[in-house]
Symmetry: C2
DNA sequence: CTGTTAGCGCATTCAC
DNA sequence: GTGAATGCGCTAACAG
């Protein structure tokens, strides 16, 4: 049987790409991963995959290992708090082209593909403003993550642009390994009862829906809930979850193609590709609208 | 930087393992995959991964590609209907040790690790018999799959062993690309109203719960629903889903370790490892019990 | 056009 | 002990 490795060694390439993601437990990343594999396989590359579990140490070992294995290029969803040195000392030092996905690394110049988190946040903010929501809490997400801060920034500016007064202001609490349910408990038992909760992503939102119920608050009606990613299960929640679609297949495909393009032309300027998001409005926020209008009718 | 590929070529090894799964959209396989990666990485191997999408043609291309890349060993969740020739002509011909996971290939002698599907089916069968369920429909799953037929066989024998009379008998309909919701529609509009529906796995079961509601049947109370895998979301369903836990982390870890052991000793006899399942009883079946006792009380 | 050779980057072997 | 040659399986360049 043909030994491609020997041939590749002669040609000084490996026909192999690396993909490091944090986890594939999140359906968004699962979809992203499958999309990338499709694209890579179609282009004649095989995929070396690893999971960082969002731990920089593990990520570093994976990057070293993949660099030693001489991947031709790398796609990486950076673990939160990834030091730019880790990338430099491993892949960059070995001259391996790479594209960052979904999260960028501050101060690290590189190709990037991800959903447009700022616009995503704005979409949610404007929507909530339309509902006359007066206080919002932002819950969940890795403590340090560009995706998280972008979504939060977008949310804030969207609320303002929508003309809503956010008196309670956007209280943001990140997850130190906690799930949505625990975050809600912490929020409510601190005495805070916002009109709406915006979750970092659907995984947190699902926990938040349960957490609210556990505290006797009817999710959607008592407190509006919105989120990001629009994973398939979002539509199946009770109440169905308002979420901003992030199109993981598109993000994955464009990331893979961007890397392939760079392999052709290593000198090209680094690009930043933002996938346009779409807000999908469902009961978890519209129910709250209804309750407000009711209250208003009662008041007048 | 150290070039492991050159070293490996000299040593006639690649320190690389292959993993081919059908999809990682199913959380069961996602967990399995992550568990395998952990184990492989810890043993100093990197993982070449591919998704067959349950298509034999795609699987074949992946196996060829991985064989050419000289993986030291392979872990495979066979696409349904995989011909044993495909394995032989690719990995076996190249002398690559491999272990099959979750599904076996009839007539193919190889290491195997998976949940004990027969016992899993029996657990569900006995449970339903206890509830005095008199008719059962088995829905979903790849048309040809050892996992599916094993679960079905176990279910049937479990129902019998539990002393239940299964008058409606176990009507089994496999999924030709259809989801749980469509399968329920087909079943009900054919005039069949079983006491219980057993799904091939949780993914189908989730669709079935929705399908039942769409047809005005309250899932759990009107028709009991049980399933396999016990994915995290199973407990979060409304009603919470009775399911047989299949412990994907355990299956993955044991598969990886079995492969690593074979790499040490290629001559050893092939083994068949079955992970012991556990039935997790929840409302989707216990509600039905309640409704039956009520009906009996009313009758007497 | 077909057959031979040199070298990709290592580890192993042999000579010194 | 240190240092130079050999070969893993290919492909490209070269010679016949």
């Amino acid at each position: 049987m043909y030994n491609r490795r020997a041939a590749d060694m002669r040609n000084r390439k490996s026909r192999t790409l690396g993909l490091v993601v944090t986890t594939v437990r999140n359906p968004y990343f699962a979809e992203l991963t499958m999309s990338i594999e499709q694209e890579a396989h179609q282009a004649g590359y095989t995929l070396l995959q690893g999971y960082s579990l969002d731990e920089v140490a593990r990520q570093r070992r994976l990057l070293e290992s993949m660099s030693e294995h001489r991947i031709d290029g790398l796609m990486l969803i950076p673990a939160s708090g990834s030091p730019t040195e880790d990338i430099h000392e491993t892949v960059a030092a070995a001259g391996i082209p790479h594209v960052l996905i979904a999260r960028s690394i501050p101060g690290h110049e590189a190709d990037y593909v991800g959903p447009d988190n700022i616009r995503s946040g704005e979409l949610v903010g404007r929507h909530l403003a339309t509902l006359k929501v007066a206080s919002v809490a932002f819950l969940g997400g890795p403590p340090v993550s560009t995706a998280r801060s972008e979504r939060l920034d977008g949310l804030t500016s969207g609320l303002r642009a929508g003309g809503g007064e956010v008196s309670y202001d956007v209280a943001a609490s990140a997850a130190g390994g906690q799930g949505g349910s625990e975050l809600v408990s912490a929020l409510l038992s601190a005495g805070a009862v916002p009109d709406a909760i915006v979750a970092y992503n659907d995984m947190y939102a699902f926990g938040i829906l349960n957490g609210l119920r556990a505290h006797g608050v009817e999710p959607g009606r008592g407190i509006a809930v919105a989120s990001f990613d629009d994973v398939p299960d979002a539509a199946a929640q009770e109440p169905a979850l308002t979420s901003v679609a992030g199109f993981p297949e598109q993000v994955g495909a464009r990331a893979a193609r961007l890397l392939l393009a760079r392999l052709q032309d290593p000198a090209r300027a680094s690009r930043r590709v933002l996938v346009t998001p779409r807000l999908v409005v469902r009961e978890s926020t519209t129910l709250w609208t209804a309750s407000v209008s009711e209250a208003e009718r009662n008041a007048s």
